[in-house]
């Protein structure tokens, strides 16, 4: 991590423990974490003001899908890494061809590397 301003990463995850873990992992890696948010509404509100450089999204939030958030991010050209235990990767691939995908549970290293690919590829 150089002297440049750290990348700002939006984390949307409804499982608090996982969200915490992600936050720690990303911060340890030198990212700045926006969130974590647990639902769509909060996330959308944040995107509008915070303009993240990237996002890690859980697909299945408590009772809702994260897709409105993902669509918004896609529209703004923000690279996305999906982090989920469900949902077929194929289905996501079709809808968000640029996005990366990490299946839960995954190691911090893998997640970070995916995030980096996503950012650099953008």
């Amino acid at each position: 991590m150089s002297s440049r301003t750290p990348y700002r990463v939006l984390v949307v995850e409804d499982e608090i423990l996982i969200a915490l873990d992600l936050q720690h992992t990303l911060e340890d890696a030198g990212y700045e974490v926006i969130g974590p948010h647990e639902n769509v509404a909060d996330s959308l509100a944040t995107i509008a003001t915070a303009h993240p450089d990237a996002a890690i999204l859980d697909v299945q939030l408590d009772g809702e899908d994260v897709f409105p958030v993902a669509e918004q991010l896609k529209a703004e050209g923000v690279p996305i890494v999906f982090h989920s235990g469900h949902a077929e990767p194929a289905q996501l691939q079709e809808r968000f061809p640029e996005a990366r995908f990490c299946s839960k549970p995954c190691t911090p290293a893998l997640l970070e590397s995916e995030l980096r690919i996503a950012i650099e590829g953008a």
Partner: protein, 1154 residues
Amino acid sequence: MADRSPAADPTEADTSERPIPVVGVGASAGGLEALREMFSPIKQRTGMAFVIVQHLDPDHESLMAQLLARETALTVAQVAGGEEPQPDHIYIIPPGKGLALRDGRLQLEPFDLPRGQRRPIDDFLISLAEECEQFAAGVILSGTGGDGAIGLRAIKEHGGLAIAQEPTSARYDGMPLSAVGTGMVDFVHEPSDIVEEVVAYFQRLRGSSVYDEGASEIVAEIDNLCDTLQQAVGHDFAGYKRSTLERRIARRLQVLGIERARDYVDLLSQDRDECETLFRDLLINVTKFYRDSEHFDALRERVIGPLVKGRGREQEIRVWVPGCSSGEEAYTIAMLIAAELEAQQVGASVQIFATDIDEAMLEIGRQARYAPAALVDLPEPLRERYTISHGDHVTVSPRIRDMVRFSNHSIIKDAPFSKLDLVSCRNLLIYFGDRLQQAVIPLLHYAIVPGGYLMLGPSETIGRFDDLFQPVDQKARLFRRKGGRGVYPTHLTVGSETRATRQARRARRLRPDRGWEDDAALKRLVDRYAPAAMVLHEDGRIQSSYGRLSRYFEFPNSPTGDVSATSLARPGLRETLVPLLCEVREERSRIVAREVEVRSEFGSQRINVIADPLPDGNLLVVFRETAEFRAELDEDLVELGPNDGQVQILEDELRLARHRLRCTVEELETVNEELKSSNEEMMSMNEELQSTNEELTTVNDELKSKVDQLTVANADLRNFFESTQLAVVVLDGNLNIRSYTEAAQQLFPLKPADRGRRLEDMTSELEDDRYLDDARSVVHGHGPIERQIATRDGRCFLLRVMPYRVLDGSVSGATLVFTDITEAKALETELAQERERLKLALEVSGIGVWEYLVEEGATVLDEAVEGMFGLDPADQHPIDELIAAIHPDDRDRVEAALRRAMSGQADYQATFRVREADGTERTLRGLGRLVEGSAPQRLVGVYFDVTSEAEGIAMRELLLREMNHRVKNLFAVIGGMISLAARSNDSVTDMARTLRERIAALGRAHSLTNASGIEGSELGELVRAALAPFADHDGLEIAGAPVAIRQNAVSGLALLLHEWATNSVKYGALGDPEAQLEIRWQDAADGAVALSWEEKLSAPRNVEEHSGFGTTLVEVSARQLEASVEQASSERAFTLTLNLPANCRAEPPTGSSS
């Protein structure tokens, strides 16, 4: 010539305008074969009607129509009477009836004459000739006798066509030969060629170009024709009436198929036979006995009566019938005169000269043999007295025959007869042109004695010669010669050269060895220097004479030829000549009678008479003088007187003897005639029977082959019956047993002898006898009856009672067929049970059966399938109806599966959704298989409802996905916990312990999931599970109404409670055995739940509490639960309050708040 190709077939066109040609076909013995040959080659339309007249036995049904119909393409029918002849039809005479064509219809007429004298062919042909004239044709085929010859002549006289079968091809050549013998036949052919010839002839006639245009050409050529004819036959037709000549020549052209008259002239000049044929054709005329009866009545009254009156015994009545044809008229006059002579008892002799130029006709006249049809007009007394019936023909009695002399003589060119009392010249002048007529009348005037009579035909007159003849009866055309000297009309004689030619030709034809006669020197030698001689016929008629014979013979004035030498011989020679001729005839060697003295009124002469038989059967008689002629002296008269008287007596005796002999001979002849007549009747019957026999033989052959076929068929049937092992009993109309099969013996104790017994009388193995009633009603017209019937031993039979029909369709009995159906019956029951079981199974399992008729695109569904697809009950449903019911997303798949199944690649298997009428969806599974070898293709299979299974599977998949998610989430949570724990724990051992405890707590909480059967977990259970490791703590109290916690909240709540419990062990109540821990919860406002954790300690609480990972966990968990945690503590008490929001609950709070 008309084009014969079918396209231009004139018969196709205007049949209505022109009369249909009718072909009369006469046949007798051997006729069936000839008729078959004649009609079988016909392939296309002929445009003609054929009428077959066959001699048939009146007592037998004729099968001719059936036999012939098989051979020909034409329509064949036996005449029933009243038919109008149609083209391309064959009409056949029925047995026992005569046939005639009158007023355009075929009429059946009873025979007038007894069997044996009938001439059905002649009768029909005569009626046909009169009805159809030139559109009639007569065909004579095989047969014995002469029936048909006269009919052919009638056809020919009316301008029709006459054909005879080639006699050598006929099995019996009598009829064809006699037809050919008339000289009237236009064609002689094999039977197979006849129809073609007739068709061609009538096409030429219908084509009519020959008839119309050719006529003018004929006019132009007629003089040439007459010249040619005169050269050839010596008779000049130039003076004949032109219209008649033209018509007859035109007909001849049609027969020959010659188009141009010029060509015909050429043919005539080359072909002598054709000249003869034309000659005869030109002379055809119609004649009959007593034709124009009123005229002959008048003749008898006004001419013959006066003529006979007052004639002495020695006076002769001389009559001439020129143009006599076949002599009917001459004989009629002879009969009239003979009758008159008898009536007036006058003994005058009668000489009737009948002359014609047609030798064939004259021959008929000489034979005096006629068809009965020719005599119909002859008054009964004359017929009875002067004719003799011979069955199929009639002859004129010898007495009349002797009165008539036939000779070949032309009224035009030969010198006429003279001193005639009567000339009957009927229907001759009509053939002559004016010039010739003008010449003939004076000639007749010359020939008739003054006061003699002339009779002409109905349409003939004497013209302007009323100075020669005066009418006696104008209507009857009777004239009387006026007085005055007759002038011999010299200008009639024709150039002698032609005459000589013809005579020479005739002489050659008749006596080819007499060519030397022309040698003048020889003639002179014979006439002057040789002894007088004579050639006599075997019977004594003078054939010719040489030298001066008047010394030995007394020649009468008349120039007749047929004179007996003995009757002319002078006394002396006459006595010698008779025995001499007799002897020579017998001995056939030269015999001489010496020193015969011949006496004449001038004197006597001694001669030797030598009789020498000639090779041709004639006798040469030579008279050689042996002494000088002695003049008659008176002394001789005296001397010879007594001698002469003795001879006279002898002669008288001889005459008497002759008379007696003649009577006896006549009697014998009569008997002989009768016998002949009987014989002829027999012959004719024989012939009829022969015709019938031929038919029967043919039928018999057919029957024989039918019998063979039947035998085979019978054997087939018997084998069939035996092989089926059917019990069959055949009954007749009275329910008597007619036949039965072997298998029937197991039901009835039948024995061969039982045939003919009543079935009623037979015992039977059957339980009831209703079969008898059934048989009875079937015999009385009931339709087939089918019934099951049981035997006493428990077997079951199917009884079929069927009417036994004979060929005409009427019922003449009944057939009882018993089929053993015991096994079938058992099978049927078994099947029914099986079916019932299957049906039940299908019903219970909700399986429906369906059948897809591939080619029709239709399906047959049972109720269950109809219900599944929501279709109304129907016999068949189009496959499209089923497809339409299938969920649109599944249709392609189902159709693909069907196609695969239809192609036979795989069985049909498909699971798909259908939308019900009420909008719900059901899932169906279909199985099916193409029925192997089915034609048309059929697919049979089942459908069953798999909606619940499908739903179960969907649920399971959902659960699995959920579980998968949860597990992965749990791993992620645990992963997170580990990361977090690593940040806060100092020792690995501690970290491991606390982590394990936490994981255990999580595990306990999750084990509750699903266990309670509700979505999520019950709060009390969760609390107890979290505190389970401390359950043996005495101070622990847990209480609260059941509250359902949603699944998402379970992990957080469990971790939170675990951390609290862990802290409590370390610092609070759970680490203090004396302390108390009370955990309670209750509903709070807005559906929230308030949980309180109160610790009451026995010692002051260790407050050295630091904010470690456990605190973080509590915070995080609470945040996730969106719950708030309040903490209150005193020295010996510690209270935690957790406010769970309403969204942690799985369901809205129930009304109770306990």
